[in-house]
């Protein structure tokens, strides 16, 4: 993508996301989790997301610190509830960070290319591509519709929305669906006329390949687990 930034294979990012989920469900000790989070933060910094990387690390360390202090108080209901909440944040943070890393540093075309490499069938890849394509469209449509509603005096203020939530939803959905139907028709016509329906092998211009850094990431993660897993 851009020079000076590390690029990982999307499959490596998926692997990191899986590990993060694994950590959520199987307790492998704070040390493993902390190492994993710090490792992720380093990867974020290397991939050009330095702000998130640093902030993430600082946030996580503070959460760990607060969590330790709170646990020391563990006597009354108040401290128990606070402790529960903090632990919740602590446990979910690796997943959120790994998810953020995977989805903000990967282009749609790279996901598609790796899915093709992993031999996902076309009838899974194409709907996913369309889905990715539709998010920004729906967002843009939504803003236009909200503006149009203001001119008609429908659900202008937050209070109006709270007063009539279902009506508001209806007024958003009718034009949204209308617009989405038109887009879908145009999009199908356009992609069919460009040969999307070809059953033979599709090639991929976007190159995704395991490189040295991918092997290093896999290696480091497995090493962390081998050394500290279970403790």
């Amino acid at each position: 993508m851009t020079e000076g930034k590390m690029q990982l294979d999307p499959r490596t990012k998926l692997f990191l996301l899986l590990i993060a989920n694994f950590l959520l469900f199987f307790h492998l000790g704070v040390r493993t989790e902390a190492l994993f989070v710090i490792f992720l933060c380093v990867l974020l910094v290397l991939s050009g997301k330095s702000r998130t990387g640093f902030l993430g690390a600082v946030f996580y360390v503070s959460v760990l610190y607060v969590s330790n202090r709170v646990m020391a108080h563990n006597q009354t209901n108040f401290w128990a509830i606070l402790g529960l909440m903090i632990t919740f944040v602590e446990k979910f943070f690796p997943c959120i960070l790994a998810g953020f890393f995977a989805f903000t540093t990967t282009k749609v075309s790279e996901w598609i290319a790796s899915m093709q490499k992993l031999h996902f069938p076309r009838h899974i890849i194409i709907p996913l591509m369309v889905l990715f394509r539709f998010f920004p469209t729906v967002r843009a449509d939504y803003h236009h519709i909200r503006n149009a509603m203001k001119f008609r005096g429908i659900a202008v203020t937050v209070f109006d929305v709270i007063k009539q939530p279902f009506l508001t939803i209806e007024y958003i959905f009718v034009p949204l669906l209308m617009s989405a139907t038109n887009t879908a028709l145009d999009l199908s016509a356009s992609s069919l006329s460009r040969g999307i329906s070809a059953p033979t092998a599709h090639s991929s211009y976007t190159n995704v390949e395991f490189q040295l850094q991918d092997w290093l990431v896999w290696g480091s993660i497995l090493t962390i687990f081998a050394l500290y897993g279970g403790r």
Binding site: A148, F151, L187, L192, R194, A198
Partner: protein, 486 residues
């Protein structure tokens, strides 16, 4: 290259596009053919026969014989035809499959299973030829309409088809983008491609076209060669319902009128987040009240920002509008104004046309609603679902709702994009009529002909500032023309 022998087609189901009757058309290799005629004449249908979307995507009754590059589109698969025919469509927003420009350019070739090395070579070649380097590797959703259309042309160029089919490619483009589209087409022409264009705007194609096919109600009623084209008078074109071949032929038909009342805009400043300079910066602007005011300017000049601030959509805008001696702030302006959007689909909410109007009224009375519909000439559509209307009819419903809400400022964003002569004239007379009913009308438009038909006053923006403002008279008309003809 393309042969249609006695071809007829009827769409199945409720299609707004009209069918074709007894079409005989033979297009030679390397010809540039322009298909024109009023909306619904069948020109879009004709392009669909050539790129195979008929009968593969739009089902219907097809008789006669179609041959494209020796093949019958109905008998082969669409992906096979995709290797011969490349298509560019009307709406730049909805013809993209990818979210990244480079990936989009590669898409057609990927579907053919071409080696990545070759795709890269072809993309580089196209980028050089069509000067697309600034647009590479960008998020498509961040591009302007003109830039999107450039990528659409680039993507079909990469597939290296022999035939290009363009369906109203200039509809959503501004004058600069149309100029660039013209360059792309002329590049293909030089490369010996066969090009078929269905279009309302004729002026940008007059030097490129070899042949001109005129359709009426699904039949070909005129077939002119380039030499003969120049002899067609503007009056004849008008009778045929076609836009002029040259912007120079457009005459001022808006009636001059004396307006004494004024609207005054004060402190209209606006800057987008992370932008280097202000998108809009107007200290004070005096404009006539109850007139049709054109907002012109190139892409990024601040026209849309101006409209959004005027209507009170931008919360950060602190500007005031002096209206009948009252200073209106943002919220007050929002109550007084109405924006007719370019995509009218976004502003229709109900199940029938009359409900749409009633929704806008402070005291919903059916009789009054019907009067507004009558005024817009859509009374007979009162109980119809807005979804089943044509684009022009939807626009009229939106205007009727504006009337019903008794708003005094009505802003139109590109009201005539993709409209033929007849519909454009209808919009023009509608705008004039609105101004006569004590409404101040603002029109953002790239349609010089529309402005010549109905405009009283012109505001030209550049980099968020008003660089010119004048009443549109016979004396100042050449100035407006100069803007559009550069």
């Amino acid at each position: 290259m393309i042969d249609l022998n006695n071809v007829s087609f009827n769409y199945v189901g409720e299609q707004r596009e009209k069918g074709l009757k007894n079409i005989n058309l033979h297009i030679k290799k390397g010809e540039v053919v322009l298909l024109c005629g009023a909306s619904g004449c069948g020109k879009t249908t004709l392009t669909r026969m050539i790129n195979g979307l008929i009968p593969h995507f739009y089902p219907g009754e097809l008789t006669g014989e179609v041959t494209v590059d020796g093949k019958n589109p109905a008998k082969i698969k669409l992906q096979e035809l995709a290797q011969t025919v490349g298509s560019v469509f009307q709406n730049p927003r909805s013809q993209f499959f990818s979210t990244n420009t480079t990936a989009e350019m590669a898409f057609g070739c990927e579907n053919q299973g071409i080696e990545p090395v070759i795709i890269r070579e072809r993309i580089n070649k196209t980028v050089d030829e069509l000067k697309l380097d600034k647009l590479m590797n960008r998020d498509i959703f961040q591009l302007s309409g003109g830039e999107k259309q450039k990528i659409a042309c680039g993507s079909v160029s990469v597939t290296q088809n022999d035939i290009y089919v363009l369906d109203e490619p200039s509809s959503n483009l501004d004058i600069q983008a149309i100029e660039e589209l013209k360059e792309q087409i002329s590049y293909w022409k030089k490369a010996g491609k066969t090009i078929i264009i269905a279009e309302h705007r004729l002026y940008y194609l007059s030097e490129l076209v070899d042949r001109f096919i005129y359709l009426q109600e699904g039949r070909i009623t005129g077939d002119y060669r380039a030499e003969k084209l120049k002899k067609i008078t503007t009056e004849k074109l008008n009778k045929m319902g076609l836009r002029p071949f040259s912007l120079g032929q457009i005459k001022l038909t808006a009636k001059e009128k004396n307006v004494t009342d004024k609207l005054i805009l004060k402190d209209f400043h606006f800057q987008y987040k992370q932008a280097e300079r202000a998108a809009l910066s107007i200290q004070k602007l005096e404009i006539p009240k109850n007139a049709v005011i054109a907002i012109i300017g190139h892409n990024g000049a601040g026209k849309s920002t101006f409209a959004r601030c005027l209507c009170g959509l931008e919360k950060k805008n602190q500007g005031k509008l002096i209206f009948e001696k009252k200073a209106l702030d943002r919220k007050a302006r929002l109550k007084k104004s109405y924006l007719v959007m370019q995509d009218v689909n976004h502003q229709l909410f109900t199940e029938s046309v009359v409900d749409e109007v009633l929704l806008s009224m402070k005291n919903p009375v059916a009789a009054t609603a019907h009067r507004y519909l009558e005024q817009m000439g859509i009374l007979e559509l009162a109980s119809v679902h807005p979804l089943s209307l044509s684009g022009g009819q939807k626009q009229r419903v939106a205007i009727a709702s504006a009337l019903a809400s008794e708003k005094e400022l009505v802003v139109f964003d590109e009201p005539t994009s993709g409209l033929d002569l007849g519909h454009m004239q209808a919009v023009a007379s509608c705008l004039t009529a609105l101004a006569a009913q004590q409404k101040s009308i603002f029109v953002i438009s790239h349609d010089f002909e529309l402005l010549a038909h109905c405009c009283d006053y012109v505001i030209q923006l550049e980099q968020g500032r008003v660089v010119k403002q004048y009443s549109l008279t016979h004396e100042s008309f050449p100035e407006l023309m100069a803007f559009f003809r550069k």
